[in-house]
Symmetry: D2
Subunit: 464 residues, 4 copies
Amino acid sequence: MENWMEELHEECGVFGVYHAAKAAALTHLGLHALQHRGQEGAGIAACENGQLLCRKGRGLLSDALSREDIALLTGESAIGHVRYSTQGGDEPENLQPLTARLGTGMIAAAHNGQIVNAWELRQKLEEQGSILYGTSDSEILLHLIQREKGHLTQKILAACRHLEGAFAFVILSENSLFAVRDKNGLRPLVVGKLGDGWCVASESCALEAVGADFLRDVQPGELLKFSSEGLTSFHYTEDTACRLCAMEYIYFARPDSTLDGKNVHQVRRITGRILAEKDQGKLEADLVIGVPDSSLSAALGYSDASGLPYDVGLVKNRYVGRTFIQPTQEQRDLGVQLKLSANRQVVEGKRVVLVDDSIVRGTTSQRIVRLLRQSGAKEVHLRIASPPIQYPCFYGVDTSTREELISARMDCQELCQYIGADSLRFLSVEEMERAYSGTGYCFACFNGKYATPLFHHKRALELA
Amino acid sequence: MENWMEELHEECGVFGVYHAAKAAALTHLGLHALQHRGQEGAGIAACENGQLLCRKGRGLLSDALSREDIALLTGESAIGHVRYSTQGGDEPENLQPLTARLGTGMIAAAHNGQIVNAWELRQKLEEQGSILYGTSDSEILLHLIQREKGHLTQKILAACRHLEGAFAFVILSENSLFAVRDKNGLRPLVVGKLGDGWCVASESCALEAVGADFLRDVQPGELLKFSSEGLTSFHYTEDTACRLCAMEYIYFARPDSTLDGKNVHQVRRITGRILAEKDQGKLEADLVIGVPDSSLSAALGYSDASGLPYDVGLVKNRYVGRTFIQPTQEQRDLGVQLKLSANRQVVEGKRVVLVDDSIVRGTTSQRIVRLLRQSGAKEVHLRIASPPIQYPCFYGVDTSTREELISARMDCQELCQYIGADSLRFLSVEEMERAYSGTGYCFACFNGKYATPLFHHKRALELA
Amino acid sequence: MENWMEELHEECGVFGVYHAAKAAALTHLGLHALQHRGQEGAGIAACENGQLLCRKGRGLLSDALSREDIALLTGESAIGHVRYSTQGGDEPENLQPLTARLGTGMIAAAHNGQIVNAWELRQKLEEQGSILYGTSDSEILLHLIQREKGHLTQKILAACRHLEGAFAFVILSENSLFAVRDKNGLRPLVVGKLGDGWCVASESCALEAVGADFLRDVQPGELLKFSSEGLTSFHYTEDTACRLCAMEYIYFARPDSTLDGKNVHQVRRITGRILAEKDQGKLEADLVIGVPDSSLSAALGYSDASGLPYDVGLVKNRYVGRTFIQPTQEQRDLGVQLKLSANRQVVEGKRVVLVDDSIVRGTTSQRIVRLLRQSGAKEVHLRIASPPIQYPCFYGVDTSTREELISARMDCQELCQYIGADSLRFLSVEEMERAYSGTGYCFACFNGKYATPLFHHKRALELA
Amino acid sequence: MENWMEELHEECGVFGVYHAAKAAALTHLGLHALQHRGQEGAGIAACENGQLLCRKGRGLLSDALSREDIALLTGESAIGHVRYSTQGGDEPENLQPLTARLGTGMIAAAHNGQIVNAWELRQKLEEQGSILYGTSDSEILLHLIQREKGHLTQKILAACRHLEGAFAFVILSENSLFAVRDKNGLRPLVVGKLGDGWCVASESCALEAVGADFLRDVQPGELLKFSSEGLTSFHYTEDTACRLCAMEYIYFARPDSTLDGKNVHQVRRITGRILAEKDQGKLEADLVIGVPDSSLSAALGYSDASGLPYDVGLVKNRYVGRTFIQPTQEQRDLGVQLKLSANRQVVEGKRVVLVDDSIVRGTTSQRIVRLLRQSGAKEVHLRIASPPIQYPCFYGVDTSTREELISARMDCQELCQYIGADSLRFLSVEEMERAYSGTGYCFACFNGKYATPLFHHKRALELA
C-alpha cells in the first residue's frame, strides 16, 4: 500500500443544526464542547437560501475559524467538524466539512470514524473515471452519492450500503440536514431538540452547550433527515447491532456526556469501584490518586469502595501549548514531563494507589510512576480501569497499529516490572461488561472480536 | 491621573537561572510551570560571555517564543517573565524582561507585583531629565539603578529603598543574577539548587519543573546575588515583615506549590474543612462539588469533614481559547457558559453543596448556580473558602478597583439572594487565620489593613 | 449561468523543466521572470523518483513559496505557474499546478489561457459521475485524461481533442514532462535547451533567466513529450492555424521576450513609428513621452520617426503595494494617482505627444491627461499603439467582458473629448498587420473575428 | 566601539502635515512617494486634540501599516517616516517616528540623515543618568530636548546646537509641527502649501503626490514651526552653508523631484551630455543604453549629445521581492541576475555605450557587462555619470565604510579591466560641478572634503 494511500485514523467530532437562527454560531459553540475529540483542524459549512458556504482551518477551533468566518456563515442550518489525526495528513484537502457540487446541488459532509473498505471503494471509483483528491472518508461518501440514482435521500441510503466500518456522518444539502450512524453503532451520535429546530452531535455534552434538550441516540443503521417536513427516520439496512466503542467511555468522551444511555463519569466511577473490590483485603495503602483528567472518576470510585482517602497527587498543566505535543516518541516523553507534576506534600512517604484509564505503550505509566517516586511516594500501586489493549483498532481510535501495544507483548507481571510499579492490576473483560451492565459494546481492542470484516487491514492484524 | 499613567496591575510570574547549561531552555520550562500566573505575554533574557540577548512576545509562552528564539538565547544565566495585565497595556514596550544599557553594562529586569509609589517616582525621574517610554515598574527600577552611585549591587540596594509596595524582581547583569523581594514579602519568591547552579521562581512548582531542589523562600527585604563567588545575601532594609498575599493561596498559586512553608493544596483543603465544621448539624445535603480547578481542594476538605460524598458535578472545558476570554463584562459572562458545564447525571434531583474559592463580582457564582439548577439540582448551598472581598488590592492582584466588589455593597444574605443560592456562607477572617495558623499574611482585601502607605491610590480607596 | 460557474479569465505564466539538477529552483527562477503575467498566486510541482510533490500559495512568488518549499521540491523535473485572475476566484483549490492521482500514477498540470467550452465539458463530466471541486481549466483536463484509454500520451492527446479555446498546458507525470499548445496557437509557449535537459515557458525571457538556449516556439496543436528517450513531438490535430494573441505584443509580454519570431520591444517600437508617420506634417509638438512601462518602446519609435525629442515626463512608483491594487473602479482610479506622477520640469509649458499602448475603459487615459495638464503641459496629443478594442476576449485576456469597452460605445472624436486630450489617434487594424508584417495573429478584440466557436459565451457577445 | 553602539547609516524619508483633514492619510500618500528612500520600515504619528498616537512596522509601507492603522490615526497634523538601514538594526525600537512624554507633553520625532557626534552625545546623556534604549538619532534628539530649558521651541533650538552631521527632522508636538534641517543642508527638506495648511517632505515629489504646491526648500540651519499662529521661521545657528549631498541627484532621489532648485532628471541628463562630449570623436558605437532606473536620464543625455540612438537593452524585473535582496555579497550577486535581463534582439552584434550612475563595489557593473556580452554585444563601453567614489560617507548614505570602495583601490584602467568593459570613463569632480553649475554640494565621497568634524569616525577614514 503506497504512502499516499495511508488511511487516516480519525477520532473526530461532528455537529449539525437544522432550523435555528445563527446555526453556524451554534455549531461553533457545539464544536467547542467537542474540542477534546480533535484539535488538528475545524470547519463549519452553513446554508442560506440554497447557498452553501464553508470555512475551515488548522488547529484549535479558535485558530481555525475567526469571528469573521462565523459572521459570514449565515443561515438556519449548518454542520461542523473537529479533527484529530494520527498521521501526517494535515493537508488542507483533508479538513472537513468537505463540499462538492453534485447533480442534485451543493452538498457538504463531515464524519467521525473510519471506513474499513475505504481503499477498495477508492480503487473502484478511480477505475470508473473519478478523481479523488484527498484521503478522507467523506470524499468517498460524496463520490458514492454522486454515482447513485434517485433523489438525494435515496442516493445517500444507497451510498451507505457500500460502506463497512465505523462512521457517523452529518450531511448538509441545499435544503436538508442528514445524520447517519453505522449499522453497528460503533461511533456515537445523538440528536436533540432546539426550539423549533434540531441538532445532532457526537456527544450529548455538545447538546447541553447550545441549550438543546437531549432527544435520543441515533440508532445503528439509521439515517435521520431534517427538512421543512420535520424529522424523518430511515434505515439503510435491517442488519444492525449495538457495538458502541468502549474506548469512548474509558478515555475519549467527556465525563458529562451520556452515550447510549450511560453517563461517562458514572461508568468510569463504577470501574473504579470494581478495581477496589478486587483489592479488598489484599492491598494496604494510604491514599488514592487518579491521572488527570480522564482517570479522576475511576479514582473517586476506587476511593468510594475502598474507603481510602482520595487526594490530588498529580497536577496537570493546563497551558501545554500545541507546540509541545509532537508525534515522535522522544517528544511524547517530553510531553509527560511538561503536562504533569506531582504534589510532593501529598505523596511524600505515602503508599499510593494510582488509578489510570488504560495502558497503550506503557511509557506514560512508566514516567508517572517515576515522577511519584521522585516526589517521595513510598509505594505506587497502579490500577487500570480497563482491560489490557491487545488488538489494534480499525474503527477510528488511534490505538497504535504501527507501534507496539505493550499488552500484546507482556503479561501483567512483566508489564508491572517494566513500568516500575509495586503492583499492577487491570480490569478483566468480564468485569468491564459488568461495569457496563451489558455486552452491546465493541471490545475488539481487548478481545479481538471485530464487528465487521477487515478487508486489507487483516494484514495489520497478522503482523500484530 | 491621565490615561497614559494608569499603572498596570500585574500578577505575573518570574524565573531565573544562574550557572546551568541551557539556562534559557530551563527558564522556558520554568515559565511553563508558571503560565497560570500570566498568559498575556512572555519573555526571556539570557547572557553569554557578557552579551545579553532578550526575546519576548505576546500571548502564551508557546506563541510568544519560538524554538528558534530559545536556541538563540545561549549562555548559563537567564531570567524570564510571564505577564498578566488587566488593562489595555499590551504595548510591546511593557513586555518583560526589560533591557537597558547602564553605566555598569547591559542589564535585564523582570518583576511581579506592583509599586504603589510608581507615579511619584516617575514624576521625579522625568523632572531630573529622564525619559520613560513604557509604564512598567521594571523601567522605574532600571532608571533608579542608573542614577545611584557605586557598584551594581550597591546601586540595586539603594534603588530598592525608593520602592514602596509589592515586588519580586529578578535582574540579570553581564556577570550576575539578582533576586529581590519587597520588605513585606507581599509577593512570593523561592530559590532552589540546580546542580552547581541556582534558580529562583515565583512558585516552588517551577523549581520542580526544572528538576531543582527547593532551598528556601527569599526573605522579605532580601536581595540575593548569584555570581562567580556563589550566593550572597543582602538586605536592603531591616524594617521587614511577613505579609504574603492570602490570594496566592486562595486562588492564584498552583496547588502543588509550597509558599512560605505552606502547601497551597493543603491550605485550601483545610479551609474546606472549616467550612464543613461551621455547617455541622445545620445543613442537610447529598453531595459536595467544587468549581474547577482552584476550588476542588477545598471541596475535598469539605467532604472530609462533613462525610458528604465528593463528586464531579461541574466539568471545565480545557480548550477555551484566548479569543473567548475578553475583559468586557458581557464577554466575561459568555466565558462562564463556555468554560463550565454541569454533569446532569450527577446533580439532577440532588441537594448540592457548591464550594468556590472567592467571590469578586458575584456574576460568575450567579451563573454557576443557575447552571446547576438548569441541570436539575434541587438545592444549591454555596460555600466560599475565603472571607468577603471588601477592599481593592494595590499590590498586584486584579481584584477590581474600578468595578464594584459586590461584598462591599451587599451583606451575605443580600448576596445569597442575588446569586440565587439556597444558602451562602463565607469563611471569616479569624477562620482564615486559623486555617493559615498565623497572621503573617496580607488580608488587606478582606480587612482593609494595608501593609504600606498607599500614596495617590488612597483616592481609589475613598471611592470604594 | 450560476455564480459558482463563472469561468475565470486567466492570463497566466507556465514554466517547466525536464532533466536538470534543482529543477524546482530553476522553475522558481523562470517563474520569477514571468511574474508580470500573474501576481495572484504561484505554485511549483516537482518529481523525484516517481514521487510528485507540490507547493503553492497566494500572492507574489516571494509570498507564495518559501525557501523551505523550494528546498523540499527535490528532483530533476518540475512545472510551475503564476496566476492572474480577474474575479473572486482566489480559493486555494484554484491555485496551480493541480495534482491528482490518475490510474497511470500521479500527475500535475498547470495552464495559461481559457477553454471556451469549459462549461459544457464540466456538465458532461458531472453527468458521468465525476465531482469537480474547483473552477480551473486544469481540473477539466485532468478529468478528461482520467476518462480516456491507453497510455498517458494517448490519453493526453485524446483529452486535448475535447478542448476548444486558448491554452498552453505543462503536465508533469511520474517520469515525463508534457507541453501542449492549442491548435490556433492563441497563447505563447516556447521551448529551450538547458544542458542535457529542456525547459518550456510562456515567454522566452524566462529561458534567458535560467540560462537556457532558445530552441523554438511550440507549434499550434503540438504536444511535446520530454522523457528518458529525449524529446518527442506529437500533434493532437492537423487542423491548425497561427493566431497568437496580439495583446501579448501590445501589453502583456515583457519587452525582452521574442514570441513566434518577433521581439516584443521591436514590434512595439515599429507601432510607434507608424503612429509618427501618420502625424507627419499634421502635428506640431515639443516632445514625446510614453506611459511607463509598456508604452516606452512605442514612444521611442514615435521619437525615431518624428524627430521629436523623447523625454521622461511620467514617473512610475515602483513600490505600489498589492494592498493598493483593488478591482473596484474607485480603487482603480486611486491606483493611477499612486502609480504615476508627472515630472513638472519636463512637461511644463510643453506640447506633449503622449503614447499609450491601448485604451480599455478610458479612465486611465483620462487621468493621465489630467495629470499632465496639472503639471503644466500646454497640449496633450494622445497616440495609441493599437486599434480600438471593441470586442471582449474569451481566450484569457481580461479585456472587460462585463464592464464596457469604451471604444465599443464612442468613436475616436467622442473619446478624445471624454479623455480631455487635444487630439487622439489609434493604429488601424491594417497598420497593425503591417507592423506585425503578417496576419497570423488573433485580432478578435479589434475586429470580432474569433478563432474558435464561442459556445455559451456568444451571449456575452450579443450583450456587448 | 562595541557592537551595540554601531550607528545606523540611514538614508530615509520624512514627511509631515500640519492643519489638513486626514493628515495621516495624506502622510501615508506622501510616504508612498518617498518609498524609494527606505523599504525596511515605516511609521506615522498623528495628533488630535493634544493626543498623539503612533503606528509603525517593518517592511514596505503597505506591510508596515494597515488601513486600520491609518483610520486610527485621526487629526489634522501628522508626521511619517520610511526607513532604510544597512545593518542589523531592524529592532522595533529603531522604527520611527519615536514618541516620548517630555515635561512639555507628548512628542514624536522622525529624521533622515546621520548625526556624526551621536556616540559622544549618547555617552554624555548616560553619564547624566538617562537610559537610551535604541540606537536612532531621534532618541538622542528627544533626550537633548528633555534636558534643555524653556518652552518647546527654545528647547528644540538649543538641542539642535549640540548636533553635528546631516539631518532633517520632523517633530510633532501636541499642538505644533516642527521641521529642521542641518546647518550644511546635507539632507534635503522641502515645504509646501496644502489648502490652509502645510506639508514638509524629504523630496518635492511627495508634495506633488498629495496635491500640495511647492513653497521652498527649508534653509540650512532653519527650524520651521507650524502652529495655530501660522508658519514661523527660526535659525538655530548663523553659521550655515549649502552642501546638499550630490548622491541625492546621482542615485537616491526620484527623477521628478526638484531639490535646492534643480530637477533631478535634468541634472542627470546633463551629466550624460557631458560624458558624450568627452567621447566626441574618440568613440565609435551603435547605440546607448542605461542601467534602469536611475541611469536612464543620463543615457538619454548621452544620446542627445552624441547622436547615437538610445535603446532599451536592459529590462528590470519589477517584481523582485524583498526575500531576494539580502546583504551578503553572494546574495547581492544573485540579486543582479534576478533584477536585470538583457534584450538580445537589441544588443546582439552591437557596440554598446552603457551608462550607469556610479560604481561602488564594481561587482554590479561586472555582472551587467557580462550579461550584455552573453546576449551578443560586440563591445561594451561603460560611462559613469559621477566621479569615482573614494571616501566613505558619514552623513547617511550607505557608501560602504566597511567593504572596500573599489575606486579607492584601483585606477580607471585597472577597474575597466576588472569590470571587463572595452572602455570605462567617469565624470571628473570638475565636470560634476559644471553639471551642477555650482559648488554648493557635498562631494566628500569623491574628494574627501567633509562638511563637518568627524569625531570618532575619523578612524574609519584612516582605515580606508
